[in-house]
Assembly symmetry: C2
Amino acid sequence: MSTAALPADFLRAIAESFPADFLTREPAELQEYGRDWTRVYAPAPGAVVFPRTTEEVARFVALCHQHRVAVVPSGGRTGLAGGAVAMRGEVVLSLKRMTRMEPVDLLGNTVRVQAGAVTEGVHQHCAPHGLTWPVDFASKGSSTVGGNIATNAGGVKVIRYGLTRQWVLGLQVVTAQGQVLELNGALEKNNTGADLRQLFIGSEGTLGVITEATLKLTRLPGKQDVFLFAVPDVAAVLRLFRDARQAPLVLSAYEFFTDKCLARVQRHRKLRSPFEAPSGCYVLLESEGGDPAAVEAWLGSLFERGLVTDGTQAQGAAQAQELWSLRESISESLSATGVLHKNDISLPVANLEAFCAELDAVFASRYPGWEICLFGHIGDGNLHVNVMKPDAVEKADFFAHAKQSDHAMFDLVRKHGGSISAEHGIGLLKKDYLDYTRAPGELELLRTLKRALDPAGILNPGKILDA
Amino acid sequence: MSTAALPADFLRAIAESFPADFLTREPAELQEYGRDWTRVYAPAPGAVVFPRTTEEVARFVALCHQHRVAVVPSGGRTGLAGGAVAMRGEVVLSLKRMTRMEPVDLLGNTVRVQAGAVTEGVHQHCAPHGLTWPVDFASKGSSTVGGNIATNAGGVKVIRYGLTRQWVLGLQVVTAQGQVLELNGALEKNNTGADLRQLFIGSEGTLGVITEATLKLTRLPGKQDVFLFAVPDVAAVLRLFRDARQAPLVLSAYEFFTDKCLARVQRHRKLRSPFEAPSGCYVLLESEGGDPAAVEAWLGSLFERGLVTDGTQAQGAAQAQELWSLRESISESLSATGVLHKNDISLPVANLEAFCAELDAVFASRYPGWEICLFGHIGDGNLHVNVMKPDAVEKADFFAHAKQSDHAMFDLVRKHGGSISAEHGIGLLKKDYLDYTRAPGELELLRTLKRALDPAGILNPGKILDA
């Protein structure tokens, strides 16, 4: 579908019944709103619209339904799987003007916000009350509540708080027919048949458009301790994890990265490793609470029991930030120091060790001598696998080869009961690989749901799966 | 449909391809397996079957699909809304023989069990490892994992741990066509399209039959403190709740009951109130952790600030159990000392005070002089509302009147954004009231889902809604 393909009577109806600034076809705006952070697809939307209210969204979607115009719902466009890309003349439905936040409900510990509210803005709105919406990741300054919910966003605190799904009490959704549904209000408990909220959380805009949400809040964490440990390999990362889960503290993060990641962070960000000797792997552990003497004793025992080879604890907030920087700079440092092919996979934690060992063999045969940078939220079974392009290989060859080689890795993912997308979603980028994680019966059921909720196929068509 | 209506060729197929003890039509067993704890419907199933494996369940459901025989999935039959009742010649599919539990996975903190495993059995299976499945309520000695998941069970620890939904990693489901789906394996993170597990959790056996689950476990709680406070009224219960949520401790239960509940518990169980003077309401607060000095200071401040009129802290496990007994004996004591009409509703916590005030007016006009016993998990917005039959009123009149009067209460529930069933579900008992909580668009979507997943309408027909 090209830009010219938007029906004239559809555009006329828009012009007649919406404000003048509702729709744009400015080339620069089409470029900007047609893509997300994935950056591998050429944007080509037919138009972009900017509603201010749910009523406008509903009226607009009803019009799209009537004229069979494809709609791409769009939040902060920080997605990494192309879920918000419009490359076939679709109309981008941007929620950017819908940023209203209601006052925090201090009895229910909830807040009602429009879908376009920015994640960090919600944090700032709630913090003065000692509360937070514990959905937290690097793109929080741009990502929106609607986008987070539509992608069931993860991040660095999942081990403590779970995924976004867990922090949504109520959802206002516009259906593919332009009907407004208010799902679950502000209720903690409501066992009255299937929980319809759940259908829309994580559906990447293919089943409905999220316009507002009542968010569940929790107390801001108390004092947190941040540690960095050096361990020889992934097996040791997992041994330490098992031990830490039984330790006298509450884990709020358990992140790992390899020496290759750290080397690139040091090169790009000029950061210093806190350790003198290099090590195969590093673990960033953040914890909250626990009796100080008991925590101290546990820490001391880690060396005695050979669970870590080196370790450091941040003294104060500045040092804690320094340790976190080592972990949080990885993504940026890999991109800045080379060309890479990314994957975001997950495994049952119990299968991680066997998986990683077998993955080494795949890497050795598929990418002989290539540099592999592994890091991730390993406490959730989530690995970010990054293959770096060797200087001697052409870019096009590299990507063709890497994409081809994904099949070998995904075979292993399937064998070990894992997922080809832990937190980034499927969008366009992983669509062709979906059957590595979803059995034929599941794919059939996903299609059944799509047909039942969006029979005309106007909502984010071609994302997750083809109808 | 009567017993005789089971097709002869269906029964013949069962006899030919399943073990001899697979199906029973013994009158005593039909009586036993045709009902749940609701006890207001006369059981009349056509047969009961007892599969031992998922393969048998799948083969059996496929046969039912082929012959258009209605199936009622059945666990511990502790439900309170008639969800497991078979009163129209259906075949009860009992999971009671499917009780296998695999060894606890100590790295992933998970355990895989069959649907017929009893809740308390799972607790006992996990406890030696310092782990628990934090789904906990009075019927844990009979309720099963499959039933808990199919009803998204609540209980007394929801404020700390959330509903059952949150503690299910993977689900094995047999569809209405007899197909086996393995949903999500043992993955914490898996963003690959709509989360199909969620469809089946809380669907009361109307969309699929749950046969196995991978449960997410958590550490057994540490030392817990149990307090009982006396406060004058519901408004004071909520003021204390707001304060307690900001207190230097972790709430693991916040339960309330009125003086009328306590009086009946004292009468029936011969338990003593720990307080000399009676009070309008009581709060049972259980907490974990917190700096002892800070907790002490907070407790002291409750009296100074007028948040409580009396209070006691359990000294040791025996006293903690005594305080808990006051709360946990309510249901039994109400039934033992009178005839009652129950409701299990929820409201946004922020609306509870206004709701309760307006409810008083409804009670005064609808039940002049009748005794109302209120208790519940008020920290989750969940109220159990019990109307006691006055001696002078005939039983039949009482129930007719109470059922009729529910409409007035549910009008208020709707007005305040509440739910007519917080945790018990809809089943048969609340079906006629579903539209107080679900808008027409939601009901339509629930029907769309039912038709999409069970087009022949064989799974628990007539439960939640009529097709």
